[in-house]
């Protein structure tokens, strides 16, 4: 049987090394495989590689490839393919999205036909988690040479992409030779339904078996239908109010803290996301999370906020503009409005400016905003998640616009530390500090939702929102 599936946003391209949009990754994860991948608890599990090992000094990483791994054209996955893939990623001309994560790779060696050795210029523990991303997918060396990576989807993953009509549909068929095991469905037909109420309607009328849902308002309607099941998984991505500390008066610590204290995060969550989510600090990945209640001003304290404002010399009020993207996330406009109303209580007058996503991204990248409501992607590792913003050399330092020596040094320490317990402690300090200096106000993490008919079974969601679990799905009649 073929699984009929729907989602709202379609992939924007087929080159696994270049695509960063959630929607593209959701599709490419079914077609391509990285060396390793995360399971539902964000533990690293085998993919193309069957096993791996760090050297003691963390300067060498060795993979043994799965001998059964084959590309969808029947050719086996070889160490040469791995080497070519990473060289492609590292080549600046490729403009690979994840290149920055792999800069510590000094050389790649392929001693035999099952082994790949990465030699690193410095110890780099997060490298392994970075390799679990589809942006580090293994593609055939031949395709790279032919320059057809973005146009033809040829991976080693569980499904073959037979047809792709952008913004309309995808047709996937099961890859019989997949090394990961037997696939129960014959294939997946994906329809792009740009309106989520339409997705719900299609589920209700059994036109589709499985769907991805973004808007919590729609998701909460799914369980009302007896024949439908809603899966919700906490995700790593976090909703945040970004301030621009390079602009007055956000350059003032007290002002930022006042804002942080004035915001009732639970209320934002309850209103904008109808309570679908969890208030969080900066660290959203399992294994690193701390009790949010212990963080600075995570209990709303208007009196304190007012006092901070007064201390900073803003007893009266100031106004600022907050930007948010239309529908990205679906809750952005609502979050902005709740925050606006909460901040009004301490005399901060917020102007909301909703923007088309691209316009927003443009402004965001230029750091051209007072405040921004954002949904930023998470990583399984705190360093890969935050180095871009809070290290002095981070690529998005310009967006964060905040330089803090403590944050920088904590990041560097965490990067080289291999002992999990010590790492956790380092990043806990990082979290405490960054919440206290409040360049941003972390709000909450939400869920990723999939909805399915009762007869669809065996799907396991992951915190990254991956649909890889579809490879295990069965359709009962």
């Amino acid at each position: 049987a073929t699984l009929r599936m729907a989602w709202k946003q379609d992939a924007t391209g087929l080159d696994p090394h270049k695509q960063t949009a959630f929607s593209s990754i959701r599709l490419l994860e079914l077609v391509y495989e990285p060396l390793v991948r995360f399971d539902k608890d964000l533990q690293i599990t085998p993919a193309v590689a069957a096993s791996w090992e760090f050297s003691a000094d963390a300067k060498q990483l060795t993979f043994k490839l799965n001998p059964n791994a084959k590309f969808q054209d029947g050719k086996p996955v070889t160490p040469a393919d791995v080497k070519a893939s990473f060289e492609r990623i590292l080549d600046e001309k490729t403009a690979a999205a994840a290149r920055a994560n792999f800069l510590s790779i000094a050389s790649i060696e392929t001693p035999d036909d099952k082994t790949v050795v990465f030699k690193l210029s410095q110890p780099d523990v997060p490298l392994l988690t970075a390799m679990a991303s589809i942006n580090a997918a293994i593609v055939p060396a031949a395709e790279i040479a032919a320059g057809t990576v973005g146009t033809k989807a040829l991976g080693s993953g569980p499904f073959k992409l037979d047809k792709w009509e952008p913004n309309s549909k995808e047709v996937l068929s099961a890859n019989k030779d997949w090394a990961g095991g037997k696939i129960a469905v014959d294939g997946i037909d994906i329809s792009v339904l740009p309106d989520e109420t339409a997705i719900l309607a299609a589920l209700r009328t059994k036109q589709i078996d499985f769907a991805l849902i973004n808007d919590p308002l729609v998701a909460t309607l799914v369980p009302r239908e007896a024949s439908l099941v809603l899966n919700r998984t906490p995700v790593l991505a976090y909703h945040v109010l970004q301030m621009n500390p390079s602009r007055k008066p956000m350059d003032n610590l007290a002002v930022r803290q006042a804002i942080s204290c004035a915001i009732d995060r639970q209320d934002v969550l309850d209103t904008a996301s109808v309570g679908e989510g969890k208030v969080t600090g900066p660290l959203t990945m399992p294994g690193y999370t701390n009790d949010a209640g212990t963080l600075f001003c995570y209990k709303r304290d208007v009196a304190k906020a007012k006092k901070l404002m007064a201390d900073a010399g803003f007893a009266n009020s100031f106004s600022a503009t907050v930007i948010a993207a239309n529908g990205e996330p679906a809750t952005a406009a609502a979050e902005a409005q709740v925050i606006q109303s909460q901040l009004a209580e301490i005399g901060v007058k917020l102007d909301i400016k909703m923007m088309e996503l691209n316009v927003y991204v443009d402004a965001w990248l230029k750091g051209d905003f007072d405040m921004a409501v954002a949904l930023n992607g998470g990583r399984a590792d705190p360093y890969s998640m935050y180095n871009r913003y809070w290290t002095k050399t981070g690529n998005l330092q310009k967006v964060a616009n905040y330089i803090d020596d403590t944050l920088d040094s904590l990041m560097q320490k965490g990067r080289v530390e291999t002992d999990p317990a010590k790492r956790k402690a380092i990043f806990s300090d990082f979290e405490k500090h960054i919440v206290e200096v409040s360049p941003w106000v972390w709000l909450y993490t939400s869920y990723s939702y999939t909805a399915q008919q009762k007869n669809v079974q065996g799907f396991t969601p992951t915190p990254e929102g991956s649909l890889f679990g579809l490879s295990k799905v069965t359709l009962q009649q």
């Binding site: 989520e196 308002l217 209103t271 909301i352 400016k353």
Partner: protein, 279 residues
């Protein structure tokens, strides 16, 4: 004055006129903030209440009073509609009039430019304008105005050409009346009738366009409200809180109904051929 009397003694004019007057009053109240509650205040413990004695039309996701927001929204939509139509009718009239009068190259130029604007998909045109200038009340006004200018230009140019051929214009030319005099006193004055009708119809369209733009998130910016934005926001709450959809939808329908009825009445009143008739 006699115009008002004529409208109110016309069957559909009476209904349309009454609706429009009520809306204008509501819009003004909304604009000056005379509403049952503060339309922006979030009574967050009262989220998504169904209509009741306190909140006549219920509350929205934030616990804001829908009735107050609706009043404010009507004010906003009308503001955008009126300004856009004023702008479009003004530019359109100017262009159409001069095109008809001067003919030849100027006419060709104006009409080709208008053709370009007409041939350009309207919603895309609006979208591009808004994307370039950033969304907001005045951008919406400009976008809608630019979309409707070619229509007004055409509406004016046709009759202007025929009035230009009327004998009283010939007469004026035999006296040697100045161009400006002929354009304003003879042509423009006689275009008032078709223009009035067109303006009421355009107002109705402008409301719909504003709704469409806001629906796409390109119109009015939150937390302000407009009819289209309220509809858009209610979309995913249609099942949980139907009142969020019903009231704005009704409001928009009735207002457009009002403008259409009024437009029909004006057409009858101003056009002797269809006098005593309603469409």
């Amino acid at each position: 004055m006699s115009m008002l009397r004529a409208i109110f003694s016309h069957p559909s004019g009476r209904i349309g006129g009454t609706i429009v007057v009520i809306y204008v009053v509501v819009a003004l109240l909304g604009m000056f903030g005379i509403t049952p509650h503060d339309p922006l205040q979030q009574f967050r413990i009262d989220r998504l209440h169904a209509p009741n004695a306190v909140y006549w039309m219920g509350t929205d996701l934030f616990g804001r009073d829908v009735a107050s927001r609706l009043m404010k929204g009507i004010g906003q939509s009308f503001l955008v509609g009126f300004c856009a139509v004023t702008l479009a009718s003004f530019t359109g009239t100017l262009l159409g009039l001069t095109a008809a009068w001067f003919g030849k190259t100027w006419d060709g130029l104006v009409m080709r430019v208008m053709d370009v604007l007409l041939a350009f998909p309207a919603i895309l045109l609006a979208l591009l304008i808004i994307a370039v200038a950033g969304p907001g009340t005045w951008t919406s006004v400009a976008a809608i105005a630019i979309v409707y200018t070619p229509i007004f230009t055409r509406v004016v140019r046709g009759p202007a050409l025929s009035i230009k051929a009327r004998e009283f214009v010939d007469a004026a030319r035999t006296f040697g009346s100045s161009r400006r005099y002929i354009l304003t006193r003879h042509l423009l004055l006689n275009l008032v009738a078709p223009l009035t009708v067109q303006v009421t119809l355009a107002l109705a369209w402008a409301l719909l366009t504003e709704a469409g733009l806001s629906f796409l998130g390109l119109g009015t910016q939150p937390p302000a409200s407009s009819l289209g934005l309220m509809l858009a926001d209610s979309r995913n709450l249609m099942e949980t809180a139907p009142w969020l959809l019903i009231f704005p939808a009704l409001a928009i329908m009735i207002s457009i109904l009002g403008f259409n009825l009024l437009g029909d009445a004006l057409r009858d009143i101003l056009d002797p051929k269809t006098r005593s008739r309603t469409a």
